[in-house]
């Protein structure tokens, strides 16, 4: 926890660092701009740059704020968690920051205007104007005095004849009037003579062309000129007439440094006036500049505060939003969400606790998932075993609801166990032919027996079935875990096979034990007859004749019976070939139609039935046995009829030819009906009961089905289904 706290503090310090640096830079630029806006600032040269930088700063902040507000609005529209709270915080921060700023700004503007206005005073302005006027008048008076004085000197100058006199006269005039320089020019501006108080100055300071031209027109030109040393100099240009008419007119220029008192006062006056006038001129720009700077600074500060408020709000709300999102994720079952811990304060601790909680839940969930996976694997393993199991398995819960069943169970019972019919009562009602099976299960489950086992006979679509049912109660701690498991096997084929095997053994032994003595008995009987027939007379001869004949007949009969037994005991070997069943039937029936006039044979054979692959001799034997049985059953029947029908039928996508041999005799006893194809089961007095047993074996070898049923009114019928294809898989598929 402490480690997380330190990391959070470091992150909390580093993350807002760029923002803080940016805001500090803006603050520095604002301070520099405010400083540059001062009248005599040292950084005034950079005012323009700073102003532009500030404008860009404002612009950047505006963009940042606009982007953030747009994002916030979008988040509110999308109903993102924390967005409304962020706006509330932002508005609070904004109001708290901007309203005082606006008030300060308004007062500052007012104060600024008043302060700048207070610099200017009408009285001062008037006084300075008057002083300036006085100064100008004083200088004008000094100029007038000098011009008046110089008038006499100019007159003297016209009398000078020689050049040397001219220089000396100029010196005299300069000295007498305390002039700085006096020069004489021709009207074209050429220097005639000059005298300067500084002997090193050789070239006189010529007047400009404007003054010269005015002087040439006879005007006296004068002006006060400021000098480098802040003193004032009076420059006067006067037309100087020549002595003779033939001499050209000349121009006299005098330079006169105004006395120190003039210069000193004049300079002070000049500076004061200049500064005040400058201030007056700068009044509006100064106000505008200060107000602009103040506005810019206020704007920058306000926007920076607003931006900081947005960032602070987001930062403050972020953990809450994360927590809300995390809670939502947990509510939807996602425990993998880990929230970022950005601070070490109470919110940081809360977020860390949330992470710990979700981590713990996640680990528990993963453990549960692993357990679930293991259970699923075990379940899949069991299901695989159950699926491969040759026994049918059903499991019921304590409420007698079917929970699981394997495919074999459905195959044995020849039913489809749908998920909708999963109650034992429902199963019993839906599959009523399996009622003994389900009732036995229900009885034992209700009795709460721990284990039970019994053979149950059911008659369904597969005919009579013998099921060996075993039940076990499952151990349980609660309702969810308890229940019953039912395991059952179809014993029908096994029992039939056992019976067949037993009868085969009986037949083999019978043939072996009985057939061997029959021939000596028959031979002995014939020998007795041949030896003593001629020796006895009368009644004894008749008795001997009858007795030996009886012995021979009975032996012959027993031989026939033993042969049939042998035939039944021998495995049936079929040689399949393509044949037309209808034609075979016609051939067999033709023989009987010729011999048995009392019975009417009716053939109802479907035309163009497909050929089948079968053993013709075996099928002929089948037809013979069945027709003989039917014929025998019709011995005392008036209007005896044997109907033989063929047709093509489809059973579960496989095509069969159904052969029916139906008589209108007395029918078969219902008690024998289920066992009619077993050996020694016969209703005939002299029958061996092997005929139909052999028929069934032959049909089995052809992958066909045989069944017997009594007609509705009288008689019985043998129905044989022979597959059109001899592929065993098709037959197996069809009969399940």
């Amino acid at each position: 926890m402490e480690r997380v706290g330190i990391r959070a503090v470091i992150r909390g310090f580093i993350k807002p660092l760029p923002t803080v640096i940016f805001l500090m830079l803006l603050l520095a630029v604002v301070i520099l701009l405010a400083s540059a806006a001062q009248y005599n600032s040292e950084i005034a040269d950079y005012f323009s740059h700073l102003f532009v930088i500030n404008i860009l700063g404002v612009l950047l902040l505006l963009v940042l704020i606009a982007a953030n507000i747009y994002r916030l609005i979008k988040e509110v529209k999308q109903r993102q968690l924390g967005s409304r709270l962020t706006i509330s915080f932002l508005m609070t921060f904004g109001v708290l920051a901007l309203i005082p700023l606006a008030i300060v700004y308004a007062f500052s503007i007012q104060f600024l205007n008043q302060s700048i206005d207070s610099w200017y005073d009408v009285e001062i302005e008037k006084a300075l104007g008057d002083a300036l006027l006085v100064g100008r008048n004083s200088m004008e008076a000094a100029k007038t005095d000098l011009i008046t004085t110089l008038s006499d000197d100019i007159a003297a100058l016209t009398q000078v004849e020689t050049e040397s006199d001219l220089f000396s006269t100029l010196d005299e005039i300069r000295d007498s009037n305390d002039l700085t320089e006096i020069s004489l020019f021709t009207s074209t501006g050429r220097i005639v003579a000059s005298s300067h108080s500084d002997v090193t100055v050789i070239i006189p300071d010529s007047p400009d062309e404007r003054m010269m031209s005015a002087a040439r027109r006879g005007e006296i030109q004068s002006r006060v000129e400021p000098l480098n040393d802040n003193s004032l100099q009076l420059r006067i240009v006067i037309p100087a007439p020549s002595a003779g008419v033939d001499r050209p007119a000349r121009l006299l220029q005098v330079l006169y440094d105004l006395p120190f008192r003039f210069s000193n006062v004049g300079e002070s006056l000049e500076q004061a006036s200049s500064q005040y006038n400058r201030l007056v001129y700068l009044r509006r720009p100064l106000k505008l500049s200060f107000i602009t700077t103040l506005t810019l600074v206020t704007l920058l500060t306000g926007l920076a505060a607003l931006w900081a408020a947005i960032l602070s709000s987001r930062r403050l709300i972020a953990p809450l939003r994360d927590l809300a999102e995390g809670t939502r994720a947990v509510a939807s079952g996602d425990y993998s969400k880990e929230l970022p811990v950005t601070s070490s304060d109470e919110l940081g601790v809360l977020v860390q606790s949330f992470n710990d909680m979700t981590g713990q839940i996640k680990r528990t969930q993963e453990q549960e998932q692993r357990t679930q996976n293991q259970l699923e694997e075990q379940r899949a393993y069991l299901e695989t075993i159950l699926r491969r199991l040759s026994s049918g398995v059903l499991s019921f819960d304590l409420n007698h609801q079917l929970r699981t069943s394997n495919e074999t169970a459905q195959e044995i019972l020849d039913i489809e166990l749908e998920s909708s019919t999963n109650s034992l009562e429902e199963l019993k009602a839906k599959f009523n032919w399996l009622a003994p099976f389900f009732e036995y299960i229900q009885h034992n489950m209700r009795a709460g027996a721990y284990e039970w086992q019994r053979e149950i006979e059911v008659v369904g679509s597969k005919g009579r079935q013998v099921l060996n049912v075993r039940g076990t109660r499952l151990p349980y701690e609660n309702l969810a875990r308890g229940g019953f498991v039912i395991v059952f096997d179809d014993m029908t084929n096994l029992i039939q096979a056992q019976r067949n095997a037993a009868w085969g053994e009986v037949a083999r032994r019978l043939a072996h034990e009985i057939k061997n003595p029959l021939t000596p008995i028959q031979l002995s009987a014939e020998r007795v007859r041949n030896k003593f027939m001629d020796k006895v007379e009368g009644k004894d001869r008749e008795t001997l004749d009858r007795a030996t004949r009886t012995i021979a007949n009975q032996v012959e009969s027993m031989k026939q019976m033993v042969n049939e037994f042998s035939e039944y005991a021998q495995p049936v070997m079929v040689q399949l070939q393509t044949l037309d069943l209808n034609q075979l039937i016609r051939d067999v029936v033709e023989l009987y139609m010729a011999g048995a006039k009392a019975v009417d044979f009716q053939l109802n054979l479907q035309a163009n039935i497909p050929y089948i692959k079968a053993d013709a001799s075996r099928l002929r034997q089948v037809l013979n046995n069945v027709i003989i049985n039917a014929h025998d059953a019709l011995s005392n029947t008036q209007g005896a009829v044997i109907v033989i029908k063929t047709c093509v039928k489809t059973i579960k996508n496989a095509e069969f030819i159904e052969l029916s041999i139906i008589d209108n005799g007395k029918g078969i006893d219902e008690k024998m009906l289920d066992r009619i194809f077993e050996p020694y089961v016969t209703s005939k007095e002299k029958g061996t009961g092997l005929g139909l047993a052999i028929v069934k074996r032959i049909i089995d070898e052809h992958n066909g089905l045989i069944r017997v049923e009594n007609n509705a009114h009288s008689g019985a019928g043998i129905i044989i289904d022979l597959p059109i294809e001899t592929d065993q898989s098709i037959a197996a598929r069809a009969y399940g």
Partner: protein, 189 residues
């Protein structure tokens, strides 16, 4: 997203406007009518003529005691093909125009030489300034190592010299954008 794009567009427009205001514009009040460079006894001399005048607002400021500083800029530039031209050397002549309230004279001062001249009007002072636009760049031979040289000159009001409150105006008002722009003279040495 559209708001952001609009903001960006506005930002671009605003920046362009500020930059346009900030970049010194060529003014009709200041222009160089002639620039010429010639060799005088091996010395490379630049001589220029200018037409200078002050707008009313600038004249008013001058009369109110605001000094004006005028820069005459000279650059010796080497022409380059694929990138911008390179200024090999540059020179600057500074003139200050001041109105003397007491005498009513306009004083044209060259700070470097401490030479001042007085004039009755500002225009006279500016005309006199125009006559002084002559500058000695140095010995011609020292530039012979370069090829494809040209000289460019420019005369402008130095807004940095203005009082701070006027600097803001100088950014946005044409009265203070007194600038001739560059005028070139190809140098053949």
């Amino acid at each position: 997203m559209r708001i952001l794009k609009n903001n960006h567009r506005k930002l671009l427009w605003f920046t362009a406007t500020v930059l346009c205001l900030y970049v010194p514009l060529v003014s009709a009040d200041f222009s160089l009518t002639r620039v010429e460079a010639f060799s005088d006894d091996g010395l490379l001399q630049v001589d220029a003529d200018a037409q200078l005048s002050l707008p009313a607002e600038t004249q008013k400021a001058l009369d109110s005691g605001v000094d004006l500083r005028i820069q005459f800029l000279i650059e010796l530039v080497k022409e380059r093909n694929w990138i911008w031209d390179n200024a090999i050397n540059n020179w600057e002549m500074l003139f200050t125009l001041h109105y003397h309230q007491l005498s009513g004279q306009y004083i044209l001062a060259t700070p470097v030489s401490d030479n001042i001249k007085t004039f009755n009007t500002a225009q006279q002072a500016l005309d006199a300034l125009s006559d002084q636009l002559s500058f000695n760049l140095g010995y011609e031979k020292s530039f012979e190592i370069y090829s494809r040289l040209y000289i460019r000159t420019r005369i402008k009001l130095d807004t940095k010299y203005l009082p701070a409150p006027l600097k803001l105006f100088s950014l946005v008002s044409s009265d203070w954008k007194l600038d001739s722009g560059w005028k070139e003279w190809v140098l053949e040495l």
